[in-house]
């Protein structure tokens, strides 16, 4: 019973940790235009797989918040909607990156104390 609770707690907290970085990870890969599936592959190849049911709606939400621009393109295969950072998105990415590095350094110091 205790071990089950421990596993559930780990799953919940690990999910929370990952959720915190999804937006930053997504923005980081949209400095060049990408469509949804291609973006998911790029994130997975770099070690951060994100569920498709989370990533695709997120792109639309970020666009609605004025951080991304998008357009339909026909290249090889079916028409695809490509997303890329706009000026506001780029500014936000720089700010979030600085925050992330600060947090990362602090966590490295904290965890290195053991």
């Amino acid at each position: 019973m205790y071990r089950m609770g421990e596993t559930e707690a780990y799953a919940t907290l690990e999910h929370e940790l990952r959720r915190g970085v999804v937006v930053l990870a997504t923005l980081s890969q949209l400095r060049t235009p990408r469509y949804g599936y291609e973006l998911r592959q790029a994130l997975a190849e770099r070690g951060l797989p994100i569920e498709e049911g989370t990533l695709y709606p997120l792109l639309r939400r970020l666009e609605a918040q004025g951080l991304l621009q998008s357009e339909w393109r026909i290249e090889e295969g079916p028409p695809r909607r490509y997303y890329a950072l706009n000026a506001d998105g780029g500014t936000l990415l720089r700010k979030l990156t600085a925050s992330w590095r600060g947090l990362n350094d602090a966590m490295a110091r904290l965890l290195g104390e053991d």
Partner: protein
């Protein structure tokens, strides 16, 4: 259904939950993305994109309602922070409404099991179902509060609650003292107060209406006047200190409880006023006063916090 049919049905189920303006565009994109996801899974599994694979993909993607919700900003009506307060207010309010409704129904003559069932049925249709106005009202109230906090966040900044403020409100205390003096004068001789108020032109009938019974003058009045007058040194002490200390708060609560006890004695004992109409009205007002005072004391007790460690304390090594 083929794998494509399943994807089409799923996409339609998601898209029809979205605003009309973005529905078709999202559906077009989602269908293409799911098609590519399915193709990738099929290649990974070394088989054709069959319905079983499509079903597994769509289940992983999520319930259409959840997916559609992810496409839009989160909509919160009752703030999560207010969830427990909302639930508590709902349960307590419904319990009071249902209990009062049941009491009213059961006070009617019940001569048989059928009568009882009829009363229960009337309670269900006449009280329980209409009582849903209460949770509805709470949703509106909590929703408006949450919306207001989001619109004007600075107005939601924390400030001490009135009952938790320790600094004395001198103006309110002075008003309270003046009120006590007036209250005691009215209590001692309401007819004198009427004369004062109407410049001695109070009709004899009005004078009679406010005449106390001898029993009240002899039995409860001295206690009531004494308890009310005890508030005077208490409030003067608070004025002098400039703040409500814990002993002063306790003394105030004890005085309120004692006053409530005497007021209850007045209600339950014989007439207070000689005129029955005045007596009924006054006792009705006293009952309301007792209910408000006891409610306030109970609320304070429920909300009371006494910081203390939850377990034994160990000295530092």
């Amino acid at each position: 259904m083929t794998a494509n049919d399943l994807i089409e049905a799923y996409v339609a189920d998601v898209a029809r939950r979205l605003p009309r303006a973005q529905r078709n565009d999202v559906a077009f994109e989602l269908r293409a993305l799911l098609g590519e996801e399915l193709q990738a899974r099929a290649e990974g599994a070394g088989r054709d994109a069959d319905p079983a694979l499509a079903t597994a993909l769509l289940r992983d993607f999520g319930r259409p309602a959840e997916v559609a919700a992810r496409y839009r900003p989160a909509l919160t009506i009752v703030d999560p922070a207010d969830g427990r307060a909302f639930l508590r207010a709902t349960v307590i309010g419904l319990a009071i409404i249902w209990s009062l409704g049941l009491l009213v129904r059961l006070r009617q003559p019940i001569g048989s099991a059928t009568d009882f069932l009829v009363a229960l049925g009337a309670w269900w249709t006449g009280t329980v179902i209409p009582s849903l106005w209460w949770p509805g009202l709470l949703v509106v109230g909590f929703g408006v509060a949450a919306w207001t906090r989001r619109q004007w966040p600075r107005k939601a900044d924390w400030t001490p609650r009135a009952e938790d403020r320790v600094d004395a409100n001198r103006a309110a205390l002075a008003l309270g003292l003046a009120g006590i003096v007036c209250g005691v004068l009215v209590l001692l001789d309401p007819r004198w107060f009427l004369d004062l108020l109407l410049g001695g032109r109070a009709a004899p009938a009005m004078q009679e209406a406010f005449a106390y019974t001898d029993a009240f003058r002899r039995r409860q009045a001295p206690w009531l006047v004494g308890l009310i007058l005890l508030n005077v040194p208490l409030l003067i002490t608070v004025l002098a200190h400039g703040r409500w200390t814990v002993p002063l708060r306790r003394a105030h609560t004890a005085l309120s409880l004692a006053t409530c006890a005497v007021l209850t004695w007045i209600v339950l004992d014989g007439p207070m006023y000689a005129a029955p109409a005045t007596d009924r009205t006054a006792k009705g007002a006293i009952v309301v006063l007792i209910a408000l005072s006891v409610g306030s004391i109970v609320r304070q007790w429920i909300r009371s916090v006494r910081p203390s460690p939850g377990g034994p304390m160990r000295a530092a090594p």
